[in-house]
């Protein structure tokens, strides 16, 4: 009926087959064992939420309301004891090596008990994602070992991602906007390293973390192709914490100011700068753009799962309320309007989940976790004894060739279409999940009326927590522009996104 040539032509037409079918194509392509892992990770998360998170939800939030300076050290120590900070660190770097395709499900579970505590775990992997996106194997190994060591010693070693600045939020996260913006975090090249000056704000978990993966710029006027990704350790001379924000929700997770004042960071802590970038296939700005896409493709999938979590948590509270309370002589659950509202909430959860799972598969097939998800590498790492692998990797990681190979494979090997797909789907998952989360919280409070207003009934906290999801990792508006940029713009030859020509 159709020739091969026709199939190719017809399925490459918009909307493109490959953009529509990450999950479908993943069947057969992805290692089967991952399903078992996802199931296991879900169980770990559920056990952790039952034993640690749920009993502490209201107490932690209330503590912060009373005392905004409070830092939840106890919780992160607990999470550390449970091994949550090494869970997704690859086995070859000493971690537990759970596959990254499990992340979304894991964070939906944590978030559906408490978004603040989910963030106290999740942000660590946001920092780790940024670090991974540089494909600097030596740094990955070095910092991973610190994390693993921190777990052994009972001293949590968390990571942050530090991009946002006082005058540059959206500007710091979108390449097209960097050069016209007001980025101020300067990196001056000196012998043996960089001297950092400037301030980052809103950095989640800042005060609690040991390593900060920072974007700084050697030329503030042309930041887009003068970006340095550099890891700064807490305690480094010239680096300090400033203000801790007073937030409406997710109060348990601090948002911190990081201050760099003539802070010298040695070359060995550079994850990626132009000395490396120049050796890659793309031009420097192109590589920086690719790094953003790697990060956002993965992390916005994660925020999508947080949104799903909020939607689910709100749904569960509403369902409980409707099952226990009567109106006009009949349980609320037996009022048809209420059934329909609950169904709407359920649908919001289901659609959001399907969307972040699709984004997960886009990442698995084309993005950050593609190398680890190749069947060969997956099964080798799965079944090689950890000790042996650590030894081998420890030796290889120090050799520049390791980084070169990974960068060739992952950065140079990724096509433009793949970049568009992962970044576009990251934004879709983020917008869908977080809008659904907020919608469900609004509906839950409408169903619960007066009871929903009380802190002790939890629903109001979910609403306060959920609102943040529409803002961080790029506002949902900016994410919409990003969907346009990644998946729509190409349909019209004259279209531009995030451009000075746009009005």
């Amino acid at each position: 009926m159709v020739t091969r040539k026709e199939i190719k032509a017809l399925t490459e037409r918009e909307p493109r087959f490959d953009d529509m079918t990450s999950s479908v194509r993943a069947v057969g392509n992805q290692p089967k064992w991952i399903t078992n892992e996802i199931r296991e990770v879900m169980a770990i998360a559920r056990k952790f939420t039952d034993e640690v998170v749920r009993p502490y939800v209201l107490e932690l939030d209330l503590e912060l309301t009373k005392n905004p300076a409070y830092l939840p050290w106890e919780f992160i120590k607990k999470a550390n004891e449970w091994g949550l900070y090494t869970l997704f660190v690859p086995k070859m770097f000493g971690g537990q090596g759970y596959n990254l395709s499990c992340c979304g499900v894991f964070f939906e579970e944590l978030g559906s008990a408490c978004l603040a505590m989910a963030n106290l775990v999740g942000v660590h992997y946001l920092g780790y994602t940024m670090l991974t996106a540089s494909w600097n194997v030596r740094m990955l190994n070095k910092i991973s070992l610190d994390i693993v060591d921190g777990q052994k010693k009972g001293e949590p070693c968390l990571l942050t991602l530090a991009m946002t600045e006082p005058d540059a939020g959206t500007d710091s996260q979108n390449l097209e906007m960097m050069d016209t913006g007001n980025l101020r975090c300067h990196a001056k090249k000196v012998d043996g390293g960089y001297i950092l000056n400037g301030t980052k704000i809103f950095i989640s978990c800042g005060h609690l973390s040991q390593w900060h993966i920072v974007h700084a710029y050697t030329d503030l006027k042309r930041a887009s192709d003068n970006t340095v990704m550099i890891a700064v350790r807490t305690g480094t001379k010239g680096f300090s914490f400033g203000k801790k924000e007073k937030k409406m929700g997710q109060q348990g997770c601090p948002a911190s100011e990081l201050i760099f004042s003539d802070c010298f960071v040695p070359d060995e802590n550079v994850c990626l700068d132009n000395r490396d970038a120049i050796r890659l296939k793309r031009n420097i700005a192109g590589t920086n753009e690719q790094i953003f896409a790697y990060i956002w493709g993965a992390s916005r999938m994660g925020v999508g799962s947080f949104g799903t979590a909020a939607a689910r948590n709100a749904y569960e509270e509403a369902l409980k309320f409707a099952s226990e309370n009567e109106l006009d002589g009949q349980l609320l659950i037996n009022h048809e309007w209420c059934q329909c509202m609950l169904a709407e909430m359920y649908r919001n959860v289901a659609v959001s989940r399907a969307t972040y799972l699709e984004a997960t598969q886009a990442n698995a097939m084309h993005g950050l976790w593609k190398p680890m998800n190749r069947k060969s590498l997956y099964y080798i790492t799965k079944f090689t004894p950890a000790r042996l692998m650590e030894k081998l990797v420890g030796w290889v990681a120090e050799k520049p060739i390791a980084t070169t190979i990974f960068r060739k494979l992952c950065l140079d090997g990724q096509t433009e279409e793949e970049i568009d797909r992962i970044d576009g789907w990251g934004s879709i998952a983020k917008i869908t999940g977080t809008d659904a989360g907020n919608k469900n919280c609004q509906i839950a409070l409408e169903i619960m009326g007066q009871a929903g207003l009380r802190h002790s009934n939890r629903a109001e906290k979910i609403l306060r927590d959920a609102k943040l999801l529409q803002i961080y990792e790029g506002t949902n508006q900016v994410n919409r522009v990003n969907v346009f940029k990644r998946l729509i713009k190409r349909s019209s030859s004259q279209a531009e996104a995030f451009s000075q020509n746009n009005i």
Binding site: M177, L445, M448, Q450, R454, L463, I471, Q500
Partner: protein
């Protein structure tokens, strides 16, 4: 908008907005810390001295006699900056409406004449529920010296600051409930500490337990719901004006910020996506204002269908206020979420106020059933 053509109302509008900006706005964050920070006694006293609490009362009881419009003008302008005070005025007005509807003239007289302090004047009232939908209600028994009330009730607003409360209770042997006035300093009264809630932090609610507490029956036995419904019909528009005030405050703060904040090399107000969000906000707010103004006019002139106008205005604006305050945060990005700005509080307050008089979908269905 309500005050457009009325000079007197214009003056009241100005006084309320000035108070809101000068007295409430600077202390908004501090005042919102209650019950984990001090209560804003001084501001409450000033508002009382400015007669913001008397607007609903007929002139014979020291009121202004300008009808519902006055109350709405005051509430709208107060709520632009801090709805907690709005919540106090609103709750108190609801309680006084019950007194008026139940023909409790003596009590009205006594309360208004002797109230040299705000606490003496204030009446606590469970303004976030429809008593006919409450399952476990206080019980009233008739003895030789009148009624005694026992049992517990949830979420009595102003319970920790008012000297008295109006509470619904079921007289044993009757199906429908009645309203009673109880002295909160009196016998057998137990009041919880203020309930930590989503919004309106300085408009505190408490849980109440009574044990053989004397209560004065308001109006007739079993007529509670009749008075309640009359009160709701009138005061719904006042709830709508609170929601409108919150929206206006949110819009102003958002707009001011977008004119100052630059991203991508221009003021963010010049990104058309931001502009469109602000445009949508302004359109919805104008419609809310028109709805409230029309409802006020219908109510004050007892135009036919005024009840429908009042309730519909509330149901619409309360919902719109939740959308607007969500966007009010959103256009400001991260800072919109922080307590040192005004938007997050407005977002919480708007959602809180939506719960006035009960569960939203049920209020909508009941509203519709009235039309059948």
């Amino acid at each position: 908008m309500i005050a457009n053509t009325n000079k007197e109302l214009k003056l009241i509008e100005k006084a309320a907005y000035d108070f809101s900006r000068k007295e409430l706005w600077p202390e908004r964050e501090e005042n919102d810390k209650f019950p984990f920070g001090p209560f804003f006694d001084a501001s409450l006293k000033k508002a009382y001295d400015l007669d913001f609490f008397h607007s609903i009362l007929p002139e014979t009881y020291g009121g202004i006699g300008q009808g519902i419009s006055t109350l709405c003008v005051i509430l709208e302008n107060i709520c632009r900056e801090d709805s907690s005070l709005g919540g106090i005025i609103f709750t108190n007005s609801a309680a006084y409406e019950i007194l008026i509807e139940s023909g409790s003239e003596e009590i009205l007289k006594k309360l208004t004449e002797s109230a040299d302090q705000v606490n003496k004047f204030l009446i606590a009232f469970p303004v976030f529920s429809d008593p006919s939908q409450v399952r476990h209600m206080l019980k009233a028994t008739k003895g030789n010296d009148g009624y005694e009330l026992s049992g517990s009730m949830e979420y009595l607003v102003l319970g920790s600051i008012a000297n008295q409360a109006i509470v619904p209770a079921r007289i044993q042997g009757t199906d429908s409930y009645s309203f009673f006035l109880v002295d909160l300093k009196g016998k057998g009264v137990k009041v919880s500490s203020p309930i930590h809630s989503l919004g309106l932090h300085s408009c505190p609610a408490v849980d109440l337990t009574l044990s053989n507490t004397p209560g004065k029956l308001l109006g007739q036995e079993g007529q509670g719901q009749t008075y309640f419904k009359k009160m709701v019909d009138r005061l719904s528009v006042a709830a709508a004006s609170m929601a409108t005030g919150i929206m206006k405050g949110s819009f102003k703060e958002a707009m001011d910020y977008t004119k100052e904040r630059s991203q991508g090399g221009r003021k963010i107000i010049n990104w058309s996506e931001v502009k469109l969000m602000l445009a949508n906000m302004s359109i919805k707010i104008k419609n809310a204002e028109m709805s409230v103004a029309k409802a006020c006019q219908a109510l004050d002139t007892k135009e036919s269908g005024w009840k429908e106008c009042s309730r519909a205005a509330a149901l619409l604006t309360q919902e719109t206020a939740c959308d607007i305050t969500t966007d009010g945060i959103q256009v400001m990005g991260g800072v919109g979420f922080m307590k040192d700005f005004g938007q997050e509080k407005r977002f919480r307050d708007a959602k809180h106020i939506q719960a006035v008089f009960g569960i939203t979908p049920v209020k909508k269905i009941k509203h519709f059933e009235e039309l059948l």
